[in-house]
Symmetry: C2
Subunit: 213 residues, 2 copies
Amino acid sequence: MKIYDWRLAPNPRRVRMFLSEKSLDVPLEEVGGENMRLKPDFVARFDPYATTPMLELDDGSCISEAMAICRYFEELHPEPRLLGQDAKERAIVDMWERRAYEGAMFALSEMIRNTHAAFADRGLPGTAEPIRQVADVVERGEGRLRRFTRSFDKQLAANRFAAGESFTVADITAFCALDFLNKGMKVPIPAEFASLRRWYHEVESRPSARASA
Amino acid sequence: MKIYDWRLAPNPRRVRMFLSEKSLDVPLEEVGGENMRLKPDFVARFDPYATTPMLELDDGSCISEAMAICRYFEELHPEPRLLGQDAKERAIVDMWERRAYEGAMFALSEMIRNTHAAFADRGLPGTAEPIRQVADVVERGEGRLRRFTRSFDKQLAANRFAAGESFTVADITAFCALDFLNKGMKVPIPAEFASLRRWYHEVESRPSARASA
């Protein structure tokens, strides 16, 4: 078993941070290449879904999508529970994880992939087919991000973590995206979101945040 | 317990079809209003995430996001299993469900919300904040759809359903999106995708497809 990883990208960090929270050690193979591109042989093998993280099982099956991978490890190693304790909490975690994904991770992808020169003709991740940058998609990403941060700040005013009192994968997705926005793209959390900033600094100080950075 | 539903929209149909496959009967409350808008009191209550489907539990908790709702019912009523039989199959189902969501459901949303007059200033679902239409996002949606259908057709050349021999929620997401594209938006499945067309007609004939239409 191994995971194809891209150290610099925010999406595969979700799985590294998840594994660190569970104290699991899975071999990583770096497939990030030159100029913010994945290595050509990785792209050729998995096109049109050559995305990281990608889990390869011992039988050769390959699983992409960070949450599919996290769910797999949660099932094999349930403790500590990062997807919720019971059916209702799991639904709330899943809801906030999806909001964080679309509102922050997806948003930053729209923002960086449609402006940065390194992503010319790579408007969507993982495919060798040229997909041109669309400058106006940046505005769409910013709209997504604004909606999410406003709403997440309210949620964190009433809850220690995204889905309540326990740290979960919803926090991981939100943190990996907001940390990349802050440190990698110089888009900090607005000062008026005090609860979101309190949460950000708390998560930033977890050992899993440092180990996965 | 009840579900806030929007009969005409493709996304809430996923939950109706899922419940039909499980022979579960959950009360639905229609919140679709005039001119392809949700009713104003629903939007005001849940803004900025006033989206359908929305599950309200007896304790008043509200869960949005179709997959969070499906997962909740899978846990309460495991049979027939629609999320996979074991950890590996569940990961594969989750992977294809996410590809279907982003590659077809999300794609059609980008395509219709950025062109149709009824969605002016509603480029993103569920928020009262005006988010203007961006014509170029349509091209991005078409790129997503092209990638997904090409790849899904290959998957279905080797498998009866999205994730193997069993019908799962990955089929539901893909079908609800492609059926809306075909019948509601007049974007049929291209003729060269023979395996995808075979699958589409097979899923279309399931009782759950008719009951949820």
